[in-house]
Symmetry: D3
């Protein structure tokens, strides 16, 4: 039975149990799901800074996962921190919820917007990543609802209402016809938003799960020509990392 | 139990049985698969001309499928003929193997090439479609191996060798790091090509199947804002079409 | 004397006479103009759905026109339905008013907007086509005035006023400096709009006529390398089509 | 009877008579054609340097033409020197053969190449202009046959053979399906090249003529929003210029 | 000691002294700065028309500068008039403040806006130049504050306040995170604007100076493959020009 | 006297002394230069993997540098590892040699190629980064000469000859007119390559130095709107890191 590791790339432990329940519920029956998180790194990921604080530890964790016999890994964060490096490091498929859900959005409509969290003054433009993917012409906008990642759950109704309002703006002002939730912490909102807003609303964590299952089933993995194995060389780590 | 219709958009009947076996073998157990083909249209699809000869009949067939209670439809041809029109016509997900496999290729590497069939002097540039998707910067090349669609099976070894040679050119000369088989008629080659060429080789029919299953499972469908329902109006058809 | 066929790609017959008068009035004296419409297909074209309902019959009509000795064909609809397929089918020039007027607009300014009809909730984004042409960076916006194609003539003054208002928005809000009327049904508005709005306003039907004349005069036609002749193969049609 | 001025933007006088014959032969009967050249400027245009040496005098000549009652002007050089400035200066249509033929090429195929002259070490990349037009994705290549502009006529057969060879390379190696002659000095080659190479070959001078006639007939001119009239201010010229 | 010529490409003499003081103040001590202006040309540059009225005289002035032993030239105008031609003409580095400051802006943020002068109805879209540079995806907007170039100094406080307001719009409405002053006449505003608006504000004249110094120090100059030397040929000039 | 820190983002100590000599030699006299390297991280940077192994330690080192009063930091590696994160973390300018030299290359010609090192089978496509910058249309190619970073110095003549050969291919086959050395380890080759190849050859380390000096002199730094300060939150590090 193939095994998928869901790696929550932050040090916040209390998400593990809930995440495990959620992914197990949605996984196909012929897959075994494990969830883990980082020992070192940030409490949440909201900036490039957090990406880089986490990346080294993500890389190391995924190397261990490959050795432990996992068949695929999901880095459970919309930012896909460390994704390129990890794909060089290992030969099993590594799926980024951000990347996977953006491509899926392009299959469902013409223009997508990303509804995200994080305080509005920490509003990150997604355009560098989107430009890198070559999809600038399909991108409508990114709108932050101004809730910090670790506060999403504190008032679900308020978060939901802010997402509805942001989604409406994305559709009416920016021309979006598909919406992506820009944080894997936004669990359980997509269905209700979809009903309210009448356009597809994508939750990236589930897309990552289904793409990971698909890659395992179809015996596909990322190209080692695009992500070649790093040569062995001296690399020095702090104590406790290897 | 959700039902997926695989519509082979040509009049060549002898593919139905084999296709049904193949899709049933690869479908998840909780999906029911049916396969059908067109009564009117071309014997194979190799040109825009064939696309348009088929499109009207595809549209009508998918409208029937929605009424018959299908949960998703796959138009089983890499060209995705009639896809936009069909998505306007119905509210169930309609998956095009071409579109789905191109986006999946972008998740697996940086540059993809398409290995296709059809006589080389009927070589169609994929760039209009790729440009339309906004993915020109990720496209390496399209190479036809010069076999007519209906002759693919006549000499599998020759077809395979031609695909290996074309794949090598795509990788070495055009910089591709992922390959897509550009015809759903190329069943059963991907695995062996992958072993030979050491880069991912994508068979679009299977990707379409897994994306269709994913959309049904995640309760996602194409955006009716992007593909709005056509207004009723007078539309006159030849006898036998409605 | 060279002959141009204007094919109105819909089943609405009462436009033929008026269209014929209009095109004959504007054609150069050394060209013979004929106008015809479809026997099968939609009453008007407002969606991809209508495009595909019409395309098969357009293809067949243009094949007949080539055999009948026409020197060029205009598909008299801004959507250019079936254009690629028709260009594969025949060797005479086939001009699409949409394509021709978009390129002409690019010769007259920096950014063009398209003013179109059709109910606003059937508002189609032109971006896929524009992206396919590679002209996304020259496109300002498309604005629908919310009148169904078949109702354009019912209240010309209202239609005109709506076009003025939409044109103003395109210029002031979207940065357009050239306007294109996005429906060949909008006959006779361009001159007055141009006076009112002080920017070029292009009526696509006339541009198609002049480009068709130009291609015939300069002995140019579309590239058979880009649009190769489809191979003969079995193609099955409903009764009454061949 | 509307009047079109063909301005040869160089000081080489002996081209005027022949050019006049050629344009008069191809003009529609209801247009009056005049041809003139510059008193100051370069003997031929092969570089940005020549463009700028000519531009001031082109601007002044076209300002005179507008005052003299011309209805349109053609700047008879593929480089379209001074085109933006001239369009600001006057309100009559000013057509550039380079621009006009590039857009027409896009109506006839997917990818165009430009076959041009000038010594090969003076090979100018067309990409800045093409990028500016937003058409980089439609451009295949530019190939110089290495003949100086003023030597084109010295050995027509050699020039023709070099063009055939360059055209073949453009088609086979670069994927071009339409060819443009990149110099208005290449008069009289297009038809024979077209027969030889089996793809459309565009002579830009004639395209400019037909586009100019079209603009006059359809009462279209370039957008004064895109090309606003310069404010009066002190401008000091050398003696003999005003 | 290397010498840099700052060429003010207009006939307005009273800017020379002040410009000389300014550039000498900011130049590195090991560089000698001279400033000159044009004898022929426009009083200020606000349109393509002014660019082309100036370009010939700029070309001639820079040719003289190279012969006189200058090591680099700055064309002191944001429009970079005649830049390509001048780079062909000479082998010393020629720096355009517009080009240099746009690339520097891209090193400091994701999206830049240009705050410029000139009456608003003479508002020029920067997009052709930006598209030509290939940077359309990094451009947020250009906003003119509606002051004619020659009136900038008449009321510095008003000009400053208008720039603040325009900058705020660029940041809040258009998403800019870096601002460029779009006229070298806007001397001395950048620092205060930067304090007020909290994003980098770039004065292009100084950037050009530092880039010119850098090129001289690093022994870099523009590519003669990109800007090849024009061949000698007959070029006729009005009296007083050579 | 302003101070610039040159951070060599690898653990290889023996480069520090030589690098310090080199940068001190080329720095302007009014700048103080310090050079340091990492205690943790890879011995050289040749992959995304190495980027991510280094990034955390780079971030921490630059945070210390800001506190220690440095006025600017150069991350002395063509890959610019951790650049975005570092720019969020601090308010002093942080210059990446890769980014800086790519923009400078665009000031010197039309198309640049990158000549780099690292074993050829570890050949990294630069296109993701170039696409992200929005400069895909200016990029000609990247060619690796197949020498590992730590072996560059072992046989300088061989390395030089390989660079000449690769440069020639870039110019003749790929259309490059400017070359960039794609590794800051390639010290001291640029001048000789430039003489041999007759196009500008850019050494990124020096460009970074001059851009850093320029930013300090002009009081410019990266936009905090583009790179906002990360919020304080729990972030856990291994022992020895803080």
């Amino acid at each position: 039975m193939p095994k998928i590791l869901v790696l929550i790339p932050i040090v916040t432990e209390n998400l593990v149990e809930e995440t495990e329940k959620y992914f197990k519920k949605h996984a196909s029956e012929d897959f075994e799901i494990s969830v883990t998180n980082l020992k070192f790194g940030p409490a949440s990921i909201e900036t490039y800074y957090d990406d880089e604080i986490a990346a080294l530890f993500i890389v190391k964790e995924v190397e261990k996962a490959e050795k432990a016999g996992y068949d695929a890994v999901i880095i459970d964060c919309f930012d896909d921190p460390g994704l390129d490096a990890v794909r060089e490091a290992v030969s099993i498929p590594v799926v980024g919820p951000g990347e996977a859900s953006i491509y899926l959005a392009c299959m469902l409509g013409e223009k997508f917007s990303i509804l995200t969290v994080g305080p509005p003054y920490i509003k990150r433009l997604p355009t560098p990543r989107i430009r890198r993917m070559g999809l600038a012409s399909r991108f409508a906008s990114e709108i932050s609802v101004g809730v910090e990642v670790l506060n999403i759950e504190k008032d679900r109704e308020r978060t939901f209402n802010l997402l509805v309002e942001a989604g409406r703006r994305a559709i009416e002002e920016d021309g979006a016809d598909v919406l992506i939730l820009g944080c894997t912490g936004l669990v359980g909102y997509a269905e209700d938003l979809q009903k309210e807003l009448k356009v597809p609303v994508i939750y990236p964590g589930l897309v990552a799960l289904k793409i990971a299952e698909t890659l395992v089933r179809l015996n596909l993995r990322h190209s080692k020509k695009a992500y070649p194995k790093p040569l062995p060389k001296k690399r020095i780590y702090p104590k406790g990392i290897e």
